[in-house]
């Protein structure tokens, strides 16, 4: 489904050049559950940002179903993120003034041709899927950390993306809550969802089918 070929990323700050990714080759197949591991500075965030199309590679090829993503312009990339990628962040990144339902519906707001009723119906469905059917109108500050992350996961799922990108999704949660979140991911995977999990915790990576370890910008 996703093919990365010889992806390189170089950051230039002033006269300093820093090569974060030094030629990454990676294939993600449908219904894969991958864990991307590595210490800080290993380039795993950079790789995740490139896969999530938040950032562009300096060189290399990024194909999604044979379509070259690295050649898209900014509007097309925005559409790509909207349609194909669901992000789950360590810090949840919910909008504090919006209810759970509105937060989940946010990607649909930027998708074309979806009316409010449909948006709300889908958002409600997703919240029920993650077990928050009774918290539709709650604001983020009225929910626990685990609940917030579930809202974020529902948001990632709402537009039926090809790939869920979870960046340290349990990093801000206690171990018991972490476990239930990981169970949720396992369930989603069982239903056919492709997931890329970025983590530095070995225990968490063990939930995945396959683990890729990144060190100094290369896969080892």
């Amino acid at each position: 489904m996703i093919e990365l070929t010889n992806i390189r990323k170089t950051y230039i700050t002033g006269e300093l050049e820093y090569e974060a990714l030094k030629g990454i080759d990676l294939t993600i197949n449908p219904n894969d559950y991958l864990a991307l591991m590595g210490s800080s500075g290993s380039g795993k965030s950079t790789l995740m940002n490139i896969i999530g199309a938040l950032d562009v590679p300096t060189s290399g090829e990024y194909l999604l179903r044979k379509k070259p993503i690295h050649e898209l312009d900014d509007n097309q990339i925005s559409e790509f993120r909207n349609q194909e990628i669901g992000f789950v962040f360590q810090t949840f990144n919910l909008l504090p003034k919006l209810s759970a339902l509105e937060n989940v519906g946010l990607p649909l707001l930027y998708a074309d041709g979806i009316e409010k009723e449909e948006r709300n119906a889908k958002s409600r469905e997703m919240l029920e899927l993650v077990g928050l059917g009774d918290k539709l109108m709650n604001k983020p500050n009225e929910m626990s950390g685990g609940q917030r992350q579930r809202v974020a996961i529902a948001r990632a799922l709402v537009n039926s993306p090809s790939l869920i990108l979870a960046d340290e999704p349990t990093g801000n949660l206690d171990s018991k809550t972490s476990e239930s979140i990981m169970e949720l991911f396992a369930n989603l995977h069982a239903k056919g969802q492709t997931i890329l999990l970025v983590t530095h915790e070995k225990e968490i990576s063990e939930f995945a089918q396959r683990t890729i370890v990144l060190k100094d910008g290369i896969i080892i």
Partner: protein, 432 residues
């Protein structure tokens, strides 16, 4: 567009308090512009109406006298003034003006008495004004009904009168006053006409020598001079003894009103009259020459300047309001960088973010503009009612401030919107 409008609208609703604080600047700016312009326009309008009332090319000579008659102590304290004799304003002055001043179109003397007018049952305090028939031509006074009195009626001292519109309603609330009798002092006058109601004659006009047409009673001057209280032939000294009281004018005439043919003659003729009369009155300045039209035009120029100043100050407050919006929008972009990053991550295009912020700013300023317009109109009416200043709200000022407020939103919304959209989503998401 509709989608972004909805996003912007929801975003404003989510931050109501901030939005309201932001609009305050625009509200007061727009309100100030509209009410200031309304006050300015009102003053303009009033002067234009007054110009109509005072007529063109008129010079008014008013006699000045001491209201407290014969105050000996005061005269002693100013002996130079007391020793000189002045005949006061008389019909002789009038004939002199007619001889000396060229290009006179019309001229009329005027006397007036504070008195009471009596219809069969009602008694009202009023002013009896004695004038020549040309008076009505000079001031373009039209009648509601009946006829003006004629020169013939004046010469033959006919006992007729014209009533001011308000006075006529007070004296004859139910019946037609034409043909009825009104009594002033011991004089019975037949009503032959009612003057058309005029817009209020303000105090400043009365001080220039214009009468309050609505509340007065107009009588041929010859009638009034010879039949009411005879001061046609007596000397000023006699007059002083005779009047024996307070307020009465010891002079024969109260005013002489001259209308000239050409407007360029007005100023020099006014000066000529001043010099001539001063000589005739033994250098005693017991008269005042005024050119109401000129005075009003000067007043208008001052007002114009003042209006510009008012408008400028109000505009500054509008600009300050706009800067306020820009500040808040910039600050809110800073505050919401993470939100922008997230919106980008879930699929918002750069354009979506720009539109969201531009529309947010536009909605806020539009809302502020509408409230400001309401405030401005309310303020204008309040000024009119409570300060009794005339105001006139112009459609132009509403349109102008509306456009300015919307433009403020778009212009001052664009800058931060552009900033917001150009943020790299990776950096935005990391922003704390």
């Amino acid at each position: 567009m509709i989608r972004n409008a909805r996003i912007a609208f929801e975003s404003i609703l989510a931050n109501k308090f901030r939005a309201i604080l932001t609009t305050l600047g625009i509200i007061f700016g727009v309100g100030a512009v509209i009410s200031m312009l309304a006050i300015g326009n009102g003053a303009q309008q009033q002067i234009l109406e007054q110009l109509k009332i005072v007529g063109v090319n008129n010079i008014i000579v008013k006699s000045i006298y001491e209201k407290e008659a014969d105050n000996s102590e005061e005269e002693e304290s100013d002996p130079s003034q007391a020793k000189k004799y002045s005949p006061g304003l008389t019909l002789k002055d009038l004939s002199n003006i007619m001889e000396v001043v060229p290009n006179i179109e019309l001229i009329t003397p005027e006397v007036n008495y504070e008195t009471y007018a009596l219809s069969s049952t009602i008694r009202k305090k009023t002013k009896a004004i004695g004038v020549d028939p040309s008076y009505f031509k000079i001031f373009n006074i039209e009648l509601e009904q009946g006829n003006h009195f004629t020169q013939l009626q004046n010469n033959s001292k006919k006992k007729v009168c014209l009533l001011g519109s308000t006075l006529s309603k007070l004296l004859f609330p139910k019946s037609n006053p034409i043909g009825k009798t009104v009594r002033i002092g011991r004089l019975n006058l037949q009503v032959i006409g009612v003057i058309k109601k005029m817009g209020g004659v303000a105090d400043n006009l009365q001080s220039m020598g214009i009468n309050d047409y609505n509340n007065e009673i107009y009588v041929p001057i010859e009638t009034l001079l010879s039949r009411f209280k005879d001061r046609g032939k007596i000397s000023i000294q006699d007059n002083r003894n005779w009047s024996n009281g307070k307020k009465e004018n010891p002079n024969q005439l109260d005013k002489i009103i001259v209308q000239l043919k050409n407007s360029e003659d007005v100023a020099p003729s006014g000066e000529l009259m001043s010099r001539m009369m001063k000589r005739r009155h033994n250098e005693v300045v017991d008269f005042a020459v005024s050119i109401p039209e000129q005075t009003l035009k000067q007043q208008k120029e001052t007002d114009d300047l003042f209006n510009w100043l008012l408008g400028a100050i109000a505009s500054i407050s509008l600009v300050v309001g706009g800067i306020g919006i820009m500040n808040i929008m910039l600050a809110s972009v800073q505050e919401r960088i993470k939100e922008i990053g997230l919106r980008r991550a879930v699929g918002a295009k750069k354009n979506d973010i720009k539109m969201q912020f531009i529309l947010e700013a536009s909605f806020i300023s539009l809302f502020g503009g509408v409230i400001g317009i309401i405030l401005g109109i309310t303020l204008s009416y309040a000024v009119e009612i409570f300060l009794e200043m005339p105001t006139k709200i112009s459609i132009f000022s509403i349109f102008l401030s509306f456009v300015i407020s919307v433009l403020t939103g778009i212009v001052f919304g664009y800058l931060p919107a552009n900033n917001a959209a150009e943020q790299n989503p990776v950096n935005s998401l990391k922003y704390e």
